[in-house]
């Protein structure tokens, strides 16, 4: 059974690790979100000179494992003397920056494709209708196009955030002490499984539940019009149905 003595001894380390995991996730997801909005517009563009460079970027990143990308940035780049003597070296020297860069590049590629798909799926009629009632170009973008695309992308975006949270475990390979690294140290030092990887799994699972529930709230807010129960009256919905 679980040795609670070890759990209470190592819990402070796990909480430090949790903080690092959350920080890594927040920094890469927020940078990825900001970058992928303009990139997704470019990706959905009709102009091949704009579309193809973005497509190549997402294709390469989505076609290679994140761990390989992380190793290329962390171990590969410092092999070049020119990089070690350049102005970016002080930041590239830090394992933190390397992990953040790899995670951001990765999540940006996936999110860009997701958003571009949502943009392409915008019905032409929706835009035509908005123009027909006299909305200007900017108003159409702000009030019709973006809210629609965001709603369509939201359920998939939740998956991306959860997957990215799990992917932060890869940072343990470049000396960053996040949840998995703490678990591996506990495993090595105490030689126990439930109290090391078991606890790590519990942390990841709890984070997943919190993230998906947060997104469920967001979806309930933004996707109300798709919920069949939202269209019936509150009283009718509360009435239990007996077959």
């Amino acid at each position: 059974m679980i040795n609670w003595q070890i759990v209470s001894e190592t819990l402070p380390f796990f909480l430090d690790g949790l903080w690092i995991t959350l920080l890594l996730l927040a920094l890469s997801i927020s940078a990825g979100l900001v970058l992928s909005i303009p990139l997704s517009v470019a990706r959905a563009s009709a102009n091949p000179w704009i579309r193809i460079p973005v497509w190549s970027y997402t294709y390469v990143i989505r076609g290679t494992p994140l761990l390989v990308q992380l190793f290329i940035i962390y171990y590969g780049l410092p092999q070049f003397e020119a990089i070690r003597e350049s102005a970016i070296w002080p930041v590239l020297r830090s394992p933190w920056f390397c992990a953040w860069l790899a995670f951001t590049l990765n999540t940006t590629a996936y999110t860009t494709e997701m958003f571009a798909g949502a943009i392409r799926a915008t019905p032409a009629g929706e835009i035509e209708a908005a123009r027909a009632i006299g909305l200007g170009r900017l108003q159409v973008l702000r009030d019709v196009f973006w809210p629609g695309a965001w709603r369509r992308a939201l359920p998939q975006y939740c998956n991306e955030v959860v997957q990215m949270m799990h992917a932060t475990a890869l940072a343990s390979t470049v000396t960053i002490v996040e949840i998995l690294r703490v678990a591996r140290d506990v495993y090595t030092n105490y030689l126990v499984l439930p109290e090391s990887f078991g606890i790590a799994a519990a942390f990841y699972l709890t984070l997943t539940i919190i993230l998906t529930q947060t997104f469920r709230l967001l979806e309930r807010h933004y996707l109300r019009h798709l919920d069949p129960r939202a269209s019936v009256s509150k009283a009718a919905a509360a009435e239990p149905i007996h077959a």
């Binding site: 171990y75 410092p78 092999q79 070690r84 394992p95 390979t173 000396t175 495993y187 090595t188 030689l191």
Partner: protein, 258 residues
């Protein structure tokens, strides 16, 4: 009758699987040149590997090498993924609480490695605020934590990463086995401009003399057989011819030297 046959087959199978008599599985690491390394074709070589093979020959058992990352070495031993660890594991009091060790099979000091002439001295004062790179969960990491509290540490997963990170410039000074840095890193092009610096340090506080073969607690018969084989290998010249392939100095533990 068939039941009886089944029972005797079972007894036979159980009987042979409990004894190590036919195959001894040896946990090795592969990231600790020249003691243990993996060639591009996946072949293991190194001092640890050859000593393990020599012991197997003396004990007249077939051996199977199982490669395992350093982190999970002792857990994997206790989970019976293999029967002994021959992976340059220092004998420490902490480890002796969970595994047994054979007699030491070699003993080498630890050394700092840095850019030649980068530091005036190597006392805790001199290295204050500097980043020391060291293998995590190792006696050397404990030594640094205890003696260099005012220095930063970069704790890496494998011994080779100490020098990889040092060459990449992610730390100011590395601390590792004098043999690993001397034989693998400093003789490579990446090691140009670096040197072993400061005194040779024997971690006498935390070890009782060198590197041993780890086995699960209570396997006294196996431990006895290994110690006998080790003593033979050290006496009959096998040890000397193996170590001459890798080192131009004596790495035999002082206790075993004639």
């Amino acid at each position: 009758m068939r039941f009886m046959t089944a029972c005797s087959v079972m007894t036979f199978l159980l009987g042979t699987s409990v004894a190590y008599a036919d195959t001894l599985r040896i946990g090795v690491e592969g990231n600790y040149p020249p003691f243990s390394q993996v060639a591009a074709d996946g072949k293991l070589s190194g001092f640890d590997i050859e000593i393990a093979e020599a012991l197997c020959a003396k004990m007249q058992v077939t051996c199977e090498m199982v490669q395992q990352e350093w982190d999970g070495m002792i857990p994997a031993l206790n989970a019976k993924k293999f029967d002994v660890i021959v992976a340059s594991m220092s004998i420490t009091d902490k480890r002796k609480q969970v595994v047994d060790f054979s007699d030491p099979y070699y003993d080498v000091p630890s050394r700092f490695v840095a850019k030649d002439g980068a530091f005036a001295g190597y006392s805790p004062e001199d290295l204050k605020g500097k980043t020391i790179i060291v293998l995590r969960n190792s006696p050397r990491a404990e030594y640094i934590a205890a003696n260099y509290p005012d220095s930063e540490t970069l704790l890496v997963d494998k011994e080779t990463a100490v020098y990889l990170e040092l060459a990449a410039g992610r730390g100011d000074i590395g601390f590792g086995s004098s043999v690993v840095s001397g034989e693998s890193f400093l003789k490579q092009p990446e090691g140009k401009g670096f040197a072993q610096v400061g005194e040779a340090i024997y971690l006498t506080d935390s070890t009782d003399g060198g590197v041993g073969i780890a086995l699960r607690k209570g396997e006294d018969k196996l431990k006895g057989d290994i110690n006998t084989a080790l003593a033979t290998v050290m006496k009959d010249g096998t040890y000397k011819s193996i170590s001459a392939k890798y080192f131009d100095f004596n790495i035999m533990p002082k206790s075993a030297q004639p």
